[in-house]
Symmetry: C2
Subunit: 129 residues, 2 copies
């Protein structure tokens, strides 16, 4: 493994937070955790991989939906304990069918979170629930 | 407290990750954790507040440097367990003097992380070390 990636600061569970951003528009698409293997696979394959705490294993983003993310650049922060990955998103990032997972916006005057953005796909069809 | 903020999913330590983004350019500036009080203060004052795990208390971003962040919008993700806060940044976000904390970029061909971006201020002068 590239020593620059070895020297990132992983937390006590061996994880590092990763912010995924659309490389062309700057839109923040999703947030998830990677472990060392996921970071290594992301660099090697050029497609984002993450670590699922609930399933206890690495996963390729898009493995079910086909909505993979092609990596354009990887940055880290001043403390080297967070990653910012700029990607080209195939399809949409959110399993709810929105391009970005951050489709809910706070407004003091509304009773619930306001939906910002439109559905790109129908999750029931893509995931064959 | 607004029930929409109460219903966010805080982790076992009572924290929620917050991604801070420049509202005008889309540049991701920093990443930190908030607790319920920090979320409430951020909404009430219109300036970002975070929770410091090392110091065990809330803090106002910019309380030492004057580099506060004026909140333009607050979004949450599909799972309601991450926040995306768009801000107008005064000065610079990073205590190292860069506008964004994510100033280090990975390159396979370089021996170390490559610096992306320029220093906006001299940390030694701003923080009077």
């Amino acid at each position: 493994m590239d020593p620059k990636l070895e020297n990132l600061k992983y937390d006590s569970n061996g994880l590092i937070p990763a912010i995924i951003q659309d490389h062309a528009t700057g839109q923040v698409l999703m947030f998830a955790f990677m472990n060392k293997v996921a970071v290594e696979k992301t660099v090697e394959t050029g497609k984002t991989h993450f670590y699922s705490r609930s399933r206890g294993k690495q996963w390729l983003k898009g493995e079910s939906s086909g909505h993979v993310q092609h990596v354009k650049s990887i940055n880290t922060d001043c403390d080297k304990d967070v990653l910012l990955v700029r990607v080209e998103q195939v399809g949409a990032a959110c399993h709810d069918g929105y391009y970005s997972c951050f489709y809910r916006q706070f407004s003091k005057d509304e009773p619930d979170w306001k939906i910002e953005g439109v559905k790109v796909f129908d999750p029931e069809k893509v995931y064959k629930k």
